[in-house]
């Protein structure tokens, strides 16, 4: 193997400190799935075209397959596994269930993280805002109408 060897990387995952020992070319997605057992983020295209691996890095929706793990030193990572608190689902998660915003569910964690980021930045998004927020999250089952409905519904629930 060419280049420098594996290094220790420390970051925060879902509010808890975590550290992984990874080669420099491994991605955040590799680290989450293979080192930390967080398999919510999915590997679908592995080249930044589908968004199924979307997580939040310091609050920003990020394709974890396009982010090197070593570049996450000191950062705060949020994954779909960290959204529910004390068994209580996040309003976005609840809205996805209520509107049936999925079929096979494989892209769902990525879709949800993109919507969560949108709603933190924009309390009252329009359908157009939602479209922009999840434009980088493909869904092969075609659950898009439900996803848009879920985002708007969760925003309403948050405002109440």
């Amino acid at each position: 193997m060419l280049g420098p060897g594996a290094a220790d990387v420390a970051f925060e995952v879902n509010g808890h400190p975590a550290s992984v020992h990874v080669p420099p070319h491994h991605t955040l997605l590799d680290a989450l799935r293979d080192e930390l057992g967080l398999t919510g983020a999915k590997r679908v295209c592995d080249e930044g075209t589908c968004g199924a691996c979307t997580v939040l890095v310091d609050g920003r929706p990020t394709y974890s397959c396009m982010t090197l793990a070593v570049a996450c030193e000191g950062r705060s990572i949020e994954t779909v596994e960290g959204l529910a608190h004390d068994g209580q689902l996040d309003p976005v998660q609840q809205a996805f269930i209520a509107t049936d915003a999925y079929q096979c569910g494989f892209c769902t964690p990525g879709q949800i993280m993109s919507v969560v980021a949108l709603l933190r930045a924009n309390k009252a998004p329009t359908a157009e805002d939602v479209h922009r927020a999840v434009a980088g999250n493909l869904c092969r089952c075609g659950a898009y109408p439900g996803i848009v409905e879920a985002a708007l519904r969760a925003a309403r629930a948050r405002r109440r």
Binding site: G40, K42, D46, V80, Q103, C104, G105
Partner: protein, 776 residues
């Protein structure tokens, strides 16, 4: 209530457009279907998925997510040539790489039967992507590295990849019998005579492109042996099909194979059985004594995991006296290396009452990956061609295209079998859809668009499909003494909400909450259930689940009658309680003294009735805006109306229809596999190049159901919905574009480039775009 003896019956079944008589083993007796208007409390109510929380929290475990201790990873070496003989393989350098545990190829792999061949590594590889060797290593990365260290001596052979090239006699013959083989034919009436005497004859050639499934979870399996017991986790539409494939490949008894699929990330027809990756994982796992994971990457998924065949179709429509008097349809499909082919002429034969029909369909072999079923295989392609031709005939005969279809859509008998339809509400679909889209606004030649220079059009197309389900399918329902239940059945949820449907039906029969039912599926150690394909899951397993729940209920009431000292006939079960004449007692209370008593109900899917034809019908209406200067087509609205019998869960049903429309939108406008003719390489192997619809491409989709139960079909009155909603959309969109521009659309996907070519050709003809534009 039950005669428990098992018996074998003959039953007529339909799968992916093919009707066959099969034998089925059944037990017990059926019950009457819930009648129309029955007061049901769970069935027919919008019910969020019972497994929703697992999907939104990331807890839902897919095959991709499995990490077993000591697990090895496989990468597959695939042929870089479209056709070549594998003369020699040297894997010594790969084996020497640290972390590599094994290499399999045609010179060392044990025989393993796969789809009629004796081995999984061919001596003559027949498409770019054909399996040549496989490496198992401690990481995927090492396995991938090892692939580059394998040297293969290929003798390159002549190839052909393109459908129309493969049909040409001058092209390389890749099969001894030639590349073209007749797959289906049908003739009724006097087609030649009707064409001769017609007022209007449309004869046109249509082309559709190869569509790739691109399931988000790629094909894959994890295999592990515990002594002589093989356990395989696989992303599949048919756990029992995988078991059967493994039994055939490895020659081990069914009792020594267990196949599991807890969740799966899409299949759309491509995950119907065992894959070479499954067998490779099982062989390595047996040899190396460790769990082995073999999962395809995105590129492989688009090379070697199936596709919807490209087609070339010729359709003729004769109109006389305002009616269609004849249809002729010849179709050629590129099966690649597939051993079967779908039939695009199905809708032509069965959708409309037309006395004179001739249909022939051909399978064409080429040096590309096998086709596999892709959501309504054949019918998506064929409906586009048929409905585009009928639209053109209507325009030429100056009849409203919906009106022309109405004249042939009311028949109560199946023109293929002559049998009476158990239920057909196609005219209702037309009425509902026409009203919803505002069909009366449609004008020949289209409407002005919203911006200068743009045009607007309306189009529609009809849908015919099966979906009546079939035996065998069995279910078991365990009722716990606290009134909760567990339903166990060997089906799988491919994303349609199968678990929820099962829970609703159980809850309905048992008078308990949907939440009180746990559903265990995706395991071959459960009672058999058929493949989740052909729109047959609900109509196959639903009736068995109902009987199993009912069996449990009857047993429970029997026991309760004894405990409560009330005649059973006076007892009712509702809302988790058992009672008689107003006095209700909770199930838990009734069984207080019988602590661990488990009631076990069993149910089997009964045979289909012999004397009726059971079909699903529908119609889609599309409104589009087209910019003839840029070639851009914007689908603004699709109204999708379906007649599928009783709708069990309107919430998940709506999702299926939206999903079908959206997948069809890709087929109609953007999705196309590109293969380099010179090398046979697939160029569109990523989601960057292969364009599936995004959220921004999605029109407003209005979903409507006729929602009348088919009480003759089965005891729940439901038929399938998986495939119907992808069938008519492309035809409706193509017809809407034709309406907008007065140009006939005959080649999908209708990319901006193709549309601009059509516009240019129409302008060159100088007829203002009306009439017959050449296909690109």
């Amino acid at each position: 209530m039950k005669s428990d003896h098992a018996r074998v019956v003959r039953t007529r079944v339909e799968f992916e457009g093919e009707i066959t008589d099969e034998l089925a083993l059944i037990q017990g007796d059926d019950v009457e279907a819930w009648p129309e208007g029955a007061a049901l409390e769970k069935v027919g109510r919008p019910t969020p998925r019972i497994d929703g929380a697992s999907k939104v929290t990331g807890r839902a475990r897919y095959t991709h997510d499995l990490r077993l201790p000591g697990m090895l990873h496989v990468r597959i070496l695939r042929s870089p040539y479209a056709r070549a003989r594998v003369r020699r393989i040297d894997a010594s350098q790969a084996l020497a790489l640290a972390g590599v545990r094994g290499v399999l190829h045609r010179f060392n792999a044990p025989k393993a039967a796969f789809r009629g061949e004796e081995t999984i590594f061919r001596d003559e590889v027949r498409f770019v992507g054909d399996e040549v060797a496989a490496v198992a290593a401690t990481s995927e990365e090492i396995a991938a590295q090892a692939l580059r260290l394998i040297t293969v001596d290929y003798e390159v052979l002549p190839h052909v990849v393109d459908l129309e090239e493969a049909m040409d006699d001058a092209s390389p013959r890749i099969d001894e019998k030639g590349n073209v083989e007749e797959a289906a034919k049908h003739e009724r009436g006097d087609v030649a005579g009707a064409l001769r005497e017609a007022d209007v004859v449309v004869e046109a050639t249509y082309r559709t492109s190869t569509q790739l499934h691109n399931s988000f979870e790629t094909h894959g399996a994890v295999a592990t042996w515990d002594g002589d017991l093989l356990t395989v986790h696989e992303s599949t539409q048919h756990v029992f099909g995988v078991r059967q494939g493994l039994q055939a490949a490895l020659r081990i008894p069914y009792g020594k194979i267990r196949v599991l699929c807890e969740n799966m990330g899409g299949g759309f027809g491509s995950k119907g059985g065992v894959g070479k990756y499954t067998i490779i994982a099982a062989l390595f796992a047996r040899e190396l004594g460790l769990p082995v994971r073999c999962v395809l990457d995105r590129g492989e998924e688009n090379l070697a995991a199936g596709n919807r065949s490209a087609t070339l179709q010729r359709v003729s429509v004769a109109v006389k006296g305002g009616r269609i008097t004849a249809l002729a349809h010849d179709s050629w499909s590129n099966a690649g290396q597939g051993r079967w082919v779908a039939d695009p002429t199905g809708p032509t034969k069965g959708l409309y009452d037309v006395p004179n029909v001739r249909a022939r369909s051909y399978k064409v072999m080429a040096n590309t990956g096998s086709l596999s079923a892709f959501r309504a295989p054949g019918y998506v392609e064929g409906t586009f061609a048929l409905e585009a031709a009928i639209d053109e005939a209507a325009d030429r005969a100056r009849i409203d295209p919906l009106e022309l279809r109405r004249r042939h859509a009311a028949g109560e008998h199946d023109p293929m079998s002559g049998l009476r339809y158990s239920l057909k509400r196609l005219i209702d679909c037309y009425d509902i859809g026409a009203k919803e889209i505002g069909w009366s606004r449609r004008k020949p030649g289209g409407l002005r668009g919203s911006a200068p220079g743009t045009r607007r059009g309306l189009g529609m197309a009809s849908q015919l499909w099966g979906g009546s389900g079939l035996p065998p399918a069995y279910a078991m329902v365990h009722l716990n003494p606290d009134g909760t239940a567990v339903a166990r059945i060997g089906t799988q949820d491919i994303g349609t909400g199968t678990r929820t449907i099962i829970a609703q039906i159980c809850a309905e029969e048992l008078g308990i909450d949907v939440d009180a039912v746990r559903v265990e599926i995706g395991d071959t150690d459960s009672p058999y259930a058929p493949i989740s394909a052909g729109s047959l899951t609900v109509s196959s397993i639903g009736p068995a689940v109902r009987l199993a729940a009912r069996d449990a209920r009857e047993q429970l009431l029997e026991i309760a009658a004894g405990i409560m000292e009330v005649p059973k006939t006076e007892l009712r079960m509702q809302r988790g309680s058992i009672g008689a004449r107003g006095a209700l007692r909770s199930i838990a209370k009734v069984f207080e003294d019988l602590q661990n008593y488990t009631v076990i109900g069993r149910g089997a899917r009964m045979p289909n009735p012999e004397d009726v034809s059971m079909k699903t019908f529908g119609a889609h209406f599309a409104e589009v805006e087209v910019d003839p200067r840029t070639g851009e087509v914007t689908v603004e609205r699709v109204v999708a109306v379906h007649d599928i019998g009783r709708v069990i869960d309107p919430l998940t049903a709506r999702s299926q229809v939206q999903g079908g429309v959206i997948q069809a939108l890709g087929f109609a406008l953007t999705e196309e596999r590109h293969v380099d003719r010179a090398t046979g390489r697939v160029l569109s192997t990523s989601l960057e190049i292969y364009k599936v619809p995004t959220v921004k491409d999605v029109p407003k989709i209005v979903v409507r159901f006729v929602d009348v139960p088919d009480t003759e079909a089965n005891n729940i009155g439901a038929k399938g919905l998986g495939e119907p909603p992808i069938i008519p959309t492309a035809g409706a969109i193509a017809n809407a574009v034709s309406n907008a521009l007065g140009i006939r659309v005959r080649h999908l996907p209708l990319t901006p480039r193709r549309l601009l070519q059509l516009v240019a050709a129409a302008e060159a003809e100088g007829a203002g775009g009306r009439g017959a534009a050449r296909p690109s």
